[in-house]
């Protein structure tokens, strides 16, 4: 498979008051174009740090990160991020939040009408065409997260980075948004890296699941290939033995081989 995102021997260390803290070490991962990869692990294992590394929000202390054969240096709109807590600007409407991103990426080359059309299209893609004029404070958590996804998708990024995008939502809303995300990704053929701690979410959405060891000095221990055919349907998968086998593999990794230190002791 031709690699689109390449992470080679990456390490991240922070200087803290108690000395140097190594969050990640020896991380290797190749992601193909159009692939959906989930990063899973216990909380505090550094999966968000790995995502931020690809986003460029965190710098690598060792190793190399490449996107389309170019080294990643600092953040940029070719790697848009859907933040865990949506991170919408509360003084801008849903339209305004998406438009800010659209304007930045396409403002140089397109007319105002085209920018507006892009913004509207992105909101309609996530089913929020009717809520364009609402402020973030006026819409539900699920809608906010959808605006965050619309903002990220509207930038037409090379890689879409999602940091536990549905973690703060109730189970029904989460399932609904997962289904929508699958449809959107099928249409846009986006390359996606998603951080999650939800096993079902990881198996349902991804092509591969990178399972991470516990921190400090965490790394990717095993990459599981999810060879379930697409489009996937959560109800049919519930009766699919392959789905259960994959799910068990992840669960076994998380709760047996990488049991939380406190639980293992």
């Amino acid at each position: 498979m031709h690699s689109y995102v390449q992470i080679e021997n990456a390490a991240v260390a922070f200087d803290t008051r108690k000395g140097r803290f190594t969050a990640l070490t020896g991380v290797n991962l190749d992601i193909g174009r159009g692939e959906f990869v989930a990063l899973i692990g216990h909380s505090g294992c550094g999966k968000s740090t790995l995502l931020n590394l690809v986003a460029g929000l965190v710098g690598a202390s060792e190793g190399v990160l490449l996107l389309a054969n170019k080294e990643i240096r600092g953040p940029g709109p070719d790697r848009s991020v859907v933040f865990q807590n949506h991170s919408l600007l509360p003084w801008l409407t849903a339209f305004g939040n998406v438009h800010l991103a659209v304007e930045k990426v396409f403002g140089g080359s397109e007319s105002k009408a085209q920018l507006k059309a892009r913004t509207t299209a992105a909101l309609e893609l996530v089913g929020l065409g009717h809520a364009a004029t609402r402020l973030p404070g006026e819409i539900s958590g699920g809608m906010k997260q959808r605006v965050g996804i619309a903002r990220a998708l509207a930038m037409e990024p090379k890689v879409l980075l999602m940091d536990e995008p549905f973690g703060a939502l109730d189970a029904l809303t989460r399932a609904h948004l997962q289904d929508e995300l699958m449809k959107i990704v099928a249409v846009t053929k986006s390359t996606v890296i998603m951080v999650t701690h939800d096993v079902d979410e990881a198996v349902l959405l991804s092509d591969r699941i990178a399972m991470m060891t516990n921190g400090p000095a965490a790394t990717i221990d095993e990459v599981l290939c999810v060879d379930l055919p697409r489009p996937r349907d959560r109800l049919q998968l519930a009766h699919d033995p392959r789905y259960h086998a994959l799910r068990s593999r992840v669960l076994e990794f998380l709760y047996s081989r990488q049991a939380r230190p406190s639980e293992a002791a």
Binding site: A55, G56, L57, G74, P75, G76, P77, R79, S80, V81, F83, N85, S87, L89, P90, W91, L92, L100, A101, K104, L135, P136, G137, M155
Partner: protein, 299 residues
């Protein structure tokens, strides 16, 4: 039942048609329900009125009562009734002008407000941008914070001699005092606001690679605005506190000068009135800014 209702409505229509403005729709709705509904509506509103209005009214009554008792004991202090009569007389001609030392109360209030406006306006123009810079650049913050820490607790009036020395005149000197005493809350609050911008917003700016100008207009300014307004509110409170004292020393016109003048005339009722005026004007300024702040809060 419907006949009774119709009669009531007709009667109301006649009444309101005569010389009363038509009631707003909210008030009209319960009226349609007839006497029973109107009675219930009245009862509910009476309870709300009781809950909201009675405690402050009781407080005011207590205050006036204590004041009356003190005035009864200390003969030189006029009681509430005497002060009220004096105030009615004073406010019946607020804008007369009998030369420099004898102007109506309205002129004095406006003069004080004018000085506060100029001094406070200049402080806002200087303090808010400075606050942004101090908050955004850590070097500047560490450079200026010792100076600010030393200057901030200085009593405003200690600045008056410097102002008189440099500016030569009483009017600009008192404006200077307003400026120097009201600039700090705006600098400090603005800087605190800039420093407390959630990292999430700055991450959005970084991922989008927004220009410094866009970061300022779309993220920094709106995020910090509530803090700026808190600073403005504190500052205007300080400015209004200080003006009375500054005017006592500089003389001329203004509510502070007027207090001092009435003290020289031994008109204690007027001094008490002045205290109320200062309090009420300060309250109004504060409330106006609270309304403004509410308009710009997003949470």
């Amino acid at each position: 039942m419907s006949a009774v209702n119709a009669t009531n409505e007709d009667l109301d229509d006649v009444l309101s048609g005569a010389d009363i403005a038509p009631p707003p729709p909210a008030a009209a709705a319960p009226r349609r329900a007839g006497f029973a509904g109107a009675g219930r509506w009245l009862a509910e509103n009476a309870r709300a009125l009781f809950g909201n209005a009675i405690p402050p009214l009781l407080g005011m009554l207590l205050f006036v009562g204590v004041w009356g008792l003190i005035a009864h004991g200390v003969k030189s202090i006029p009681g509430p009734a005497a002060t009220w009569h004096s105030a009615v007389e004073l406010f019946s001609h607020p804008f007369y002008d009998n030369g420099p030392n004898d102007k109506g109360i309205g002129w004095n209030i406006l003069n004080s407000l004018y000085r506060v406006g100029i001094g406070f306006g200049a402080a806002a123009l200087a303090g808010i941008p400075l606050g942004f810079l101090v908050g955004r650049f850590d070097f500047l913050n560490r450079m200026l914070s010792p100076i600010i820490s030393i200057l901030r607790p200085v009593s405003p009036l200690a600045w008056l001699p410097i102002g008189l020395l440099v500016l030569q005149k009483a009017e600009p000197a008192s404006i200077w005092v307003i400026f120097i005493s009201s600039v700090w809350p705006m600098v400090l609050n603005t800087a605190a606001g800039v420093q407390r911008i959630p990292q999430d917003y700055m991450n959005v700016a970084r991922v989008l690679k927004l220009s410094e100008f866009k970061v300022f207009t779309r993220i920094l300014f709106p995020a910090v605005l509530p803090y700026v307004l808190t600073g403005v509110r504190l500052s205007i409170g300080v400015a209004w506190l200080v003006i009375v004292a500054a005017e006592m020393l500089t003389g001329g016109t203004g509510i502070g000068f007027w207090v001092w003048d009435e003290w020289n005339n031994l008109n204690v009722a007027h001094i008490i009135i002045a205290i109320f005026i200062v309090g009420i004007v300060g309250l109004l300024l504060e409330q106006a800014l609270m309304l403004l702040a509410k308009r710009f809060s997003y949470e």
